[in-house]
Point group: C2
Chain length 330, copies 2
Amino acid sequence: MAILRKRADVQVTVWPEDRTCERDWLLSNIAGADGVIVLFTDKINAELLERAGPQLKVVSTMSVGYDHVSLGELYKRKVRLGYTPDVLTDAVADLSVMLALMAGRNGGAGITLVKDGQWPEFAPFFMCGPQLSSSSLAPTRTAGFLGFGRIAQATLKRVAAFGVTHCIYSGNPSSPPDTALEVHLAEDHRLQSVRRVDLDVLARESDVLFVLAPGGEKTYHVIDEKFLRKMRRHSVLVNTARGTLVDSDALAMALREEWIWGAGLDVVEGEPNVGAGHPLVKEPRCVIVPHIGSATWETRVDMATLAAKNLLAGLSAESMPAELDLASRV
Amino acid sequence: MAILRKRADVQVTVWPEDRTCERDWLLSNIAGADGVIVLFTDKINAELLERAGPQLKVVSTMSVGYDHVSLGELYKRKVRLGYTPDVLTDAVADLSVMLALMAGRNGGAGITLVKDGQWPEFAPFFMCGPQLSSSSLAPTRTAGFLGFGRIAQATLKRVAAFGVTHCIYSGNPSSPPDTALEVHLAEDHRLQSVRRVDLDVLARESDVLFVLAPGGEKTYHVIDEKFLRKMRRHSVLVNTARGTLVDSDALAMALREEWIWGAGLDVVEGEPNVGAGHPLVKEPRCVIVPHIGSATWETRVDMATLAAKNLLAGLSAESMPAELDLASRV
């Protein structure tokens, strides 16, 4: 904010509360704006762009995802889009590993037992779960990635240090395989293999599966009942991308009927309208945190700074630090 | 168990329930035994050894710690002690990283909000915590270790992949510094430095501090009010060793008064008698799981197998796979 305030040539209007901006406020205050900084909770569609008016030059979203933005509507109005990739990569990768461990190791149930004053007596196999690290009994461990961009690769780096030995991933079908990248990652992280696979193999071979693909129509419910039924009984599913990628009812069934071991979710379809009675909230082996993937002081400051710089560059018709190439996406 | 059952020359008596063995049962059934497998919850003292009788050759504990065993009492009776180091290293290191992340990232509070149906609206700095990974705003991160044995080094390997840049540790004062090890670890994990330091520096410089030293009298309450007051406001304390190392009241005060950011505990002094009203259980930034450090299927099978092999070797007066050298410890 300081970056914007010190620019005498920029007049700033700020939603005054530390919570999601109300739609009505945004719609009335955007009229006449040359640029706007938004969050992933603000829907950027024709309605909003009409209200803004034809002088609008730039939308700067403080998020790496842009499934809340109608790219075609921006493109046809020649409004540029800034976003915040890279700066949140490490924070989301950290959280992805945290959720994989929590889901595998009965972390949610353990915390609840202690909070309820029910610290269990020690017993040799009580509260056991599958181990993320490889071991003498399970000398190989395969991490699967649905989506294999920056965050997925940063997560792979971390789980490799835990003793994961193999990596499989499924990327954008339209982009060609990158053998050089696979060789580089395998060498750098001392993995036995890094392979691009189809969804069938991804489901069947992952001991832990990280969902890290963009949201939107193309990936809607890609993790569905059919996919989940193919997974291993001791596998763990982690979603730190967007809730829409996973069919919540199918996942709840998979947990209840033990098709898989556990799940760790930072996102759930329909959030923040996820009540205590939601089928996933009620599953004891489903650990859910409320979309805090990028919620570290360091990362959010970086995201806000980048969003401000994108905005200012867009207002001055300069090159943005991080602009989405709309022409290639619509 | 199968390893023991198939030995026709060994008569096996087993506590029949999947919970901690009752003391009275153990005292009456150990009479006349040549060897016994125990857990860390069974106190091995003069009383028990007297009841067993002079024919007792071996105690085999299914644990890496042996603070529940009176080493002097074993030594003077020439009873050998088997334990289970190494096999649980990875499982405990995994859990240590999980707790560091949970404590830093408000994981406990996040889970509670979702369970209570209170998924919060998104706001730029809501639910933020300190980041384990280094970042542009905090380009260095220091992991501290109180105790620097196998589990600590396995934990270091993991956090290095998260972008931790420096390692400081405090080891057994009687053992000499190992410069070759420090150089090796720094190179292997691409760290800027690995240094042995005193407790004062350990408290002042750790962004995340892992307590991984043995329990017992020598380390009783080594993390006390004085230590905690020196720590950084954004630091996180993780204890996956023994509850006795940390003064619970001092830690609760440190959390309440924000001397440190958060804590992740697998062990609490007095466990399993840790009620819902325990001062640490009530602290929102204290994430506690009920001593599940080694609780993975893979590790517990390995531990049980090693404990059985130690027992059989001890009965036959052969060399054990993992025997504690009592002469050097008493």
